[in-house]
Point group: C2
Amino acid sequence: MEINRRNLIKGSAAAIAVGGLTLSSSAREQNPLPSWNDGPAKQAILDFVKTTTDKSNAKFVPPEDRIAEFDQDGTLWVEHPLYTQVVYCFDRVGALVQAKPELKDVEPYKTVLSGDREAIAKLPTRELFEIVIATESGMTVEDYSVDVKKWLAAARDPRWKRPYTDLTYLPMQEVLKYLRANGYKTFIATGGTAGFVREYSNQVYGIPPEHVAGTSQAFEYGNGKDGQPTLTREPKLVLDNLGAGKIENFWLMYGRRPNAAFGNSSADDQQILEYTKAGAGARLSVVVMHDDATREYAYGPAQGLPDTTIGTLSQAMYDEAKTQGWIVISMKNDWKRIFAWES
Amino acid sequence: MEINRRNLIKGSAAAIAVGGLTLSSSAREQNPLPSWNDGPAKQAILDFVKTTTDKSNAKFVPPEDRIAEFDQDGTLWVEHPLYTQVVYCFDRVGALVQAKPELKDVEPYKTVLSGDREAIAKLPTRELFEIVIATESGMTVEDYSVDVKKWLAAARDPRWKRPYTDLTYLPMQEVLKYLRANGYKTFIATGGTAGFVREYSNQVYGIPPEHVAGTSQAFEYGNGKDGQPTLTREPKLVLDNLGAGKIENFWLMYGRRPNAAFGNSSADDQQILEYTKAGAGARLSVVVMHDDATREYAYGPAQGLPDTTIGTLSQAMYDEAKTQGWIVISMKNDWKRIFAWES
């Protein structure tokens, strides 16, 4: 009897909880993407979720197989005028050159130290990689974590004067939550290093570190000064996520073909979007097009910038998107709001 | 009013559900590890979970940070007389040699083709790796998946005449479930290739493919005969999980130090157990000792076998376990039952 009474009390509490849940679920279900304007991009996302979560649909996907992949730079947050991680690494170049003075007359360090923003912005991605690997090596994983967190807390984006972690796109945050609310596991696959993004992925995107894939250097097991075991970041590239590397390494790490993939750049999103879309059943490949010079930035095919520029969407990739039935998001037209802190 | 009535009905249903849950939770809570004999190993696991999930304890671990890692061969399932994956690869050596006849006079293929079980069992792990990589290359990831599933459905262990997937240890299955019921995310980190284990990890262990780390070869993006994008398994080793590689690559893939780690072999578990135990707060490092020649196998220090034998627990690692406060499971004394299908 005691057990039964306790259950009844628990039942009442559950009824209240269930009531609250019902109401808020309904509200979310009515408009799960409030920062989106109605249009084909929003509709495609809604249709994809409806199709793949409806048991009576032939394209139903069981919950354990629902995988959604997101590029970070230019897809989940601002990447212009420079990738945030590269800004972090540039701030470490001084210390690196102090330790190795011979680097100061060598490219790409020479250009970085010159402070010439225009020249810096033109550095090829491979040379940026070299700086990232060089500046993010030699310390334990714990020391690296402390340093990144400290930098993120202090650094400010030059245009909006805000922490970089404020520069995530609200409409994409809504997509992340909407997909998760519908049983999807959300992953980040970045061209940058996984370690950097893992420092804030859970807090900023609700994505745990283990679901962040990226370019990765080697880690070396050893013993610290106190004799305790350590892992040290080594200047050796193991996983290179540029180009086709992003989908090759996504498979290596997770053994999954995404059902949905979101990207923006010809440098590292084209092949994972192709591979996602080519899978059986309902598939969603989405490209974020940066065409809003007023509220964010405009770059890519409309501006005729070369493919090597940071985050560029090439004309070829844009054409492929149209031919293959990918969804192209116009930031200008599809997004009602871009940042959560905008009025 | 309509909404309120619906909520009340839902409330009643919830009460029944909550009632059922309460009872079965209680039953599980009373004895979450029924296949274990009472003793220090069982107690250590129970204490670890109690400590890390109790909010009032200084060693409480927030749910999002609860990470438990498990070796597979010899820890979650039988690894003797040969690793299951190696048996699979041996079954593919014939086809490989047919395609490349020059291999048949070259070691280690010569020994494998001889059928001399004793000589085969003595092949060094690195040479086994060579066979694994060679036989698991050249096909698309889909073709590989089909082949592994087909083989697993047909193959039988020579001693018990059962599918290999029946040879998982019931007490460890209980630990997996117990940890997950307490908010832990469970991962496999195997010395074998991740791809093989991912074919059955969800079904057999309740661990999704993306939480299986392992030795890994490269994948190459390309186009199949029909022009559709493909990923092909390449004969190039990218992640080597032997020795310290297991923890180095675990960090590379997930950016996490486990709170709990379970292993059995000096070949690939020692360093991840060290690194786990050296972390702050409550940490659990567990070694499975194979000392039951009747119900399973007996090998390792008690038998004085050399360290290069499959899955051996060296005397040095056994001593380290005792010195560092790791838990050593005696299969003979700590496990009431070993397999789920035993009467």
